[in-house]
């Protein structure tokens, strides 16, 4: 049961065992807190774009931490290294943990190859929020966009992520679409030559320094594929 007995003291935060992630607070408590986040940031900015950027920044730090937490707790310190893998991780695992349900849809943009969309009919953070007329296209979903960007970026998939309202036919409230646009260099370059097989250790590295330390066992110089995945040349007998 939650909250029975005194809290145990630990010398530092790392010694404390990770919670199972089953604890909950009331939706009201979160809604109040989120509304304070938005209101405080409103006092710090002059325009909507700036406000969205600040909410996104707040979300980013949540995203970066949730990725670390989930990979450690649920995935045995492994993390998705493929583009579609990480997208479905966001759409299902992250969404389920944060919002209690899988996101309504994950789609690929039809006009641009490098765009993906996660849509939600009623995004948790927008539940109790109505946008005043004079604030135009402002969407508090920027916070969630920030979370998504935080997860993707920390996993080595830099992207620009934005939140938009999309009117739905026959529905009073628009749905929120989180638009994910991956960095260009990511999808443009093609795979390397076929003699290169993916490195079996399958470690994602986005800097040469990380790679050098992780892959000292490769006798031959390693290479990166377009997703920053190590593809060391495999020695053929």
């Amino acid at each position: 049961m939650i909250g029975v007995g005194k809290i145990k003291q630990y010398a530092n935060v790392l010694e404390k065992p990770l919670s199972k992630g089953k604890q909950e607070v009331s939706l009201g408590a979160f809604a109040f807190l989120f509304s304070e986040l938005v209101q405080y940031n409103q006092t710090q900015v002059d325009n909507i774009a700036e406000l969205e950027r600040r909410l996104e920044d707040a979300g980013y730090s949540v995203g970066a931490r949730i990725l670390e937490l989930l990979c450690h707790r649920d995935k045995g310190n492994r993390r998705e290294t493929r583009l579609l893998g990480i997208l479905s991780f966001v759409h299902s695992t992250v969404w389920k943990v944060l919002f209690g349900k899988v996101a309504d849809s994950l789609e690929k943009g039809t006009e641009h190859e490098d765009e993906y969309m996660i849509s939600e009919k009623e995004l948790l953070v927008n539940r109790f929020i109505s946008i005043p007329k004079d604030m135009g296209t402002f969407n508090c979903g920027a916070f969630v966009a920030g979370i998504v960007r935080g997860v993707l970026d920390s996993a080595g998939f830099p992207a620009v992520v934005t939140a938009h309202f999309v009117p739905m036919e026959g529905q009073q409230r628009p749905r929120t679409t989180i638009l994910i646009k991956f960095a260009e260099e990511f999808l443009q370059c093609s795979f390397s030559s076929p003699v290169l097989n993916p490195c079996p250790c399958n470690v994602l590295a986005y800097s040469i320094a990380v790679l050098t330390s992780h892959h000292a066992h490769h006798a031959l110089p390693f290479q990166l594929n377009h997703k920053g995945l190590c593809i060391a040349p495999v020695e053929l007998d």
Binding site: E24, S26, F32, L33, V62, L98, G100
Partner: protein, 186 residues
């Protein structure tokens, strides 16, 4: 109509919608981090957190009264009990107990059994003066002000500062008599 009996904190918490405590914790962390970046001074951050809590408390009391069926408390003692047993339980899902009453019953401590705000948190050396959970004291102060009680709420023990519990001291400053907002001839 007979007055409806107040509901227990557990029953209310079970009946409201929930969100994952980690989303709540991390969002709160994001707020504190933003404040530390913007305001720089730890003292200012404490103040701002308290103010945010106050704003929440002022609004939260409505939801509290609507859902808990709690009617007027006879004295401050009962009020403190209601906050600890129903208030904290209903919103944060954690229990709390009331202790350390002073002789004239105007000052007491609320000790939290658990605190979802501080998961994953450790104060760095530069933030030792920070009352990380100061938002909670603001909430209690704001909510009580809406039911005509001026209070002063301070942290006595804070586990992030090495103490063995989270203890909030609530001191009743004065009870504001309720006034009819209009004169009769208006």
């Amino acid at each position: 109509m007979a007055p409806v009996a107040p509901r227990s904190g557990d029953a209310i918490f079970a009946s409201v919608e929930h969100v994952n405590a980690e989303l709540f914790t991390l969002t709160y962390g994001a707020i504190v981090r933003q404040l530390l970046t913007d305001l720089e001074e730890v003292e200012e951050v404490n103040k701002q957190l308290d103010q945010m809590g106050y704003n929440i408390g002022v609004r939260l009391i409505d939801e509290f009264l609507a859902k808990s069926n709690v009617s007027r408390c006879v004295d401050f003692k009962e009020t403190a009990d209601v906050i600890a047993k129903i208030g904290f339980k209903m919103f944060l899902g954690v229990g709390a107990s009331v202790t350390n009453w002073d002789a004239d019953g105007t000052c007491c401590s609320i000790v939290l059994e658990d605190n979802p705000l501080v998961d994953f948190v450790e104060l760095p050396d530069t933030c030792q003066g920070l009352y990380y959970c100061n938002i909670l004291s603001g909430v209690v102060r704001g909510a009580l002000e809406m039911v005509s009680m001026k209070t002063e709420v301070t942290w006595v023990r804070d586990m992030l500062r090495g103490d063995d519990a989270f203890e909030l001291q609530v001191k009743l400053l004065k009870q504001v008599p309720e006034e009819y907002p209009y004169k009769d001839d208006e």
